[in-house]
Subunit: 476 residues, 2 copies
């Protein structure tokens, strides 16, 4: 019989908090009939966000092109989308049913290049784009290719999205954490980056890349132009590749903030040497089409033969799913003014984004009023990384603990807190220790995706729960 | 700037012939206007196989459920499929748009378990099933989990489907090739298995598993009941896990042959210790829905905590694409007698399978008539692994070559042959060396997927080409 000891130890080491024990407990409670509010994961359509009509209409036509021959359909679907579906099947007659070329359908890669060029005002090349099963697979491909063994490390933010820590562990690399600066709205700090990389080198790690998530997960931060520039300079000086996880690029809510892609800033700086791997996805933004697993990976400053190795890697799994590829096409080429489908598209898109903005505010303002809780109103993405204070436990002196011991103690504390929150309120959030947090602080990550009334309810319940939890700890 | 030397050496080592240089050359020729017959890959719908109507109709309804509210639709789609789509959305209201649980949508896993139970007359458990993005991802998950480092090896057939060799290389494992017996219709031979595993052990490799592809790729063989039993006994005696790649289980053409699943034979033998990982997919069979990347991985004799690690692995990429999950559901739960959609389903299914059978015969009989070519009529799958003879080159004495040198020489010979075939005829096949072959033999793999007239044309062109190629070699 096989046992855990027969498994790859890297797999045993990998952790993925977003779907960890608290979520499993939540699923169990739900199966028993409890109402659970899943704030653990950025999964908009599981929390009642509606799919955009144009998107699903075209996908339905592509799945069953016979519909295009039926006159009654012409009246059901906007004219431009019927034409669009026909055009797609002209450009790619195999539709959804056949494997595509390994890097993806050529006309879709061209559309992605056009999207980048339009978004950033920079040149982009379809031959430097690979369509992927969501951004996760793109990130995993880069980590697979760049981690050459035990001594190699990737810099990842703390807090970070655990896809990165888990995948680095799985491929036997080392993680080099760099703290984001909570006091400065979770921007990156050059001084901290330098300290982290120097410490890693002293410990015998060879840094090969840096992961940046912008807008931030779990922080909801939007990086400033200066911050992006600083990271590029840092990567150049240290010979690092950059993985730019930009899946939340449409999710910027604060009028004073703007998304700056790494591709654009590198182009404007004239940077020609730092390898850049940019990720995007149909799962977030205003589409929220997580189930379709569509996305792309764009390469810059990568020579042809290296690119060839990435395409070979992709070919081992044949290609990304075709519906996801078409989904990516629809993301980068949405309806345009003048199209029959445009007014509905525009209305639905604004509704999603303005609702997210409103919910971020309700959550942020509500939490700011809870004593012992700290949160800026999230400016981007779909998450809030909420700092909370608990009274010290009698007899526990944190300052005397070794770093590892302290981390374990604090992980136990935030996990117990989140588990109690789940048991008492049905609200499912993820402990901060699953993303990483500064010693001496406790956090949880929540999405602000549930419907507005549930977010309001969330704030009320959280306050009651927190006050009681603190009171009970003080009474011990 | 990044160079190939900065990449994971395991990635550089991995090879994937099915999409290698010959295919890239074919794509180039096609872009120049040449007609190419792509026989390199089992991609039915790229070769004019039609999708099954019921399958696409349900997927269209799931993509755009608004259709279910439109009265004109009720007349366009068979009643049972409309009801089916409604039922699916009742069981899984998030439809195609949200991430599912990591192992997949529960009711679909139950349907897969029911399918296995029905197919084999054995019990099956939905908690031992994970839905995957095609069978490739399932195989990769197993290899990721079971390869613990450099010394660990997987037994793989020679010839084999290069997904296995490539993935083993990528995860830093060793491949332990075992020859299939071409003289005995490509069955496995216990004597050869014993020899291979003993040699591997002598060389310091620790064998952890064996891959069996049944029906065979690239061989088209269907394993006998005795052969499957023998492999199970061999795995038990040697402490190996079994990966049963059974994606061609519906593709059995010879009336005298039958598909025996490893799950069934293990159950009938009362085998309770050998870990079994069985793979299936929507890409092959009569569906040929490669682009949808749907499939499943079934676990037997795997304890709960080991299973938990597989689910964690799946969770790092969140979940398989939802359309692929629904596609898998439709594969395991097709229309039934009495359903309005059944007659069309039955007609389309038979048409695909009988056409494949007919094309296997045309190809096999045609090739048997070419002097210097050897092929049994393929009994299963979608491939023929054709042995061909070339006159020896003047001055080359194979028997004096070291094994590695000989392998390289023969790989050069079959690659040149296939490249010349492509240049002269537009037929794209894969050299036998991409799959592995016995020293002293040359092969190529071809599918028999193109339309019947193209298969006939293929045979004619192949004969002319081969005769001329041999003549030219003799004249040198």
């Amino acid at each position: 019989m096989i046992t855990k000891h027969d498994l790859n130890p890297n797999l045993l080491r990998a952790e993925y908090a977003v779907r960890g024990p608290i979520v499993q407990r939540a699923q169990k409670l739900e199966a028993q009939g409890r109402k659970i509010i899943y704030c653990n994961i950025g999964n908009p359509q599981a929390l009642k966000q509606k799919p955009l009509t144009y998107f699903r209409q075209v996908l339905a036509l592509l799945e069953y092109p016979e519909l295009l021959k039926k006159p009654e359909i012409a009246t059901t679907f906007p004219r431009d989308l019927v034409e669009r579906a026909k055009k797609i099947l002209e450009l790619h007659p195999h539709g959804t049913g056949a494997y595509s070329q390994s890097p993806g359908v050529p006309f879709i890669r061209q559309a992605v290049a056009d999207f980048i060029a339009r978004r950033d005002g920079i040149p982009a090349d379809q031959d430097h784009i690979v369509l992927t099963d969501g951004a996760s697979k793109g990130a995993q491909a880069v980590l697979t290719a760049l981690i050459r063994g035990n001594g190699h490390g990737f810099m990842i933010p703390i807090p970070q999205y655990p896809l990165y820590s888990a995948t680095i562990a799985l491929f036997g690399g080392r993680q080099i954490g760099y703290f984001l600066d909570e006091e400065r709205r979770w921007q990156l700090d050059e001084h901290i980056l330098n300290e982290s990389i120097e410490r890693a080198r002293r410990e015998g790690t060879r840094p090969v890349g840096i992961v940046v998530i912008n807008p931030g997960n779990p922080t909801g931060a939007v990086l400033s132009l200066e911050n992006v520039r600083m990271v590029i300079g840092f990567a150049r000086r240290n010979g690092l590749s950059i993985i730019a996880d930009e899946v939340y690029q449409e999710n910027v809510y604060d009028k004073g903030e703007q998304f700056y892609s790494f591709a654009r800033v590198m182009h404007e700086m004239g940077e020609r040497t730092v390898p850049l791997f940019s990720l995007h996805s149909v799962s977030k933004g205003f589409l929220g089409e997580c189930g379709h697993r569509g996305g792309y990976l764009e390469f810059r400053n990568i020579p042809q033969d290296v690119l060839g190795e990435f395409i070979k890697l992709q070919s081992i799994s044949l290609c990304a799913n075709l519906v996801g590829q078409f989904a990516t096409y629809l993301m980068v080429a949405p309806p345009e003014p003048g199209d029959e489908s445009y007014p509905v598209f525009q209305k639905e898109k604004s509704a999603v984004l303005s609702s997210l903005k409103r919910k971020a505010e309700i959550l942020g303002e509500g939490i700011q009023k809870i004593e012992g809780m700290h949160l800026d109103i999230p400016r981007g993405a779909m998450y809030a990384f909420v700092r909370f204070e608990l009274p010290p436990e009698r007899g526990v002196v944190i300052s005397e603990m070794a770093p590892e011991e302290r981390r374990a103690y604090e992980a136990k504390r935030d996990t117990e807190y989140c588990m109690a929150l789940l048991e008492q309120t049905g609200i499912c959030v993820v402990p901060g220790s699953g993303f990483g947090q500064k010693a001496g602080t406790l956090h949880f990550r929540t999405t602000f995706l549930p419907p507005q009334d549930e977010i309001e309810d969330f704030v009320t319940q959280l306050r009651t729960f927190h006050e009681q939890y603190v009171r009970e700890l003080e009474e011990v």
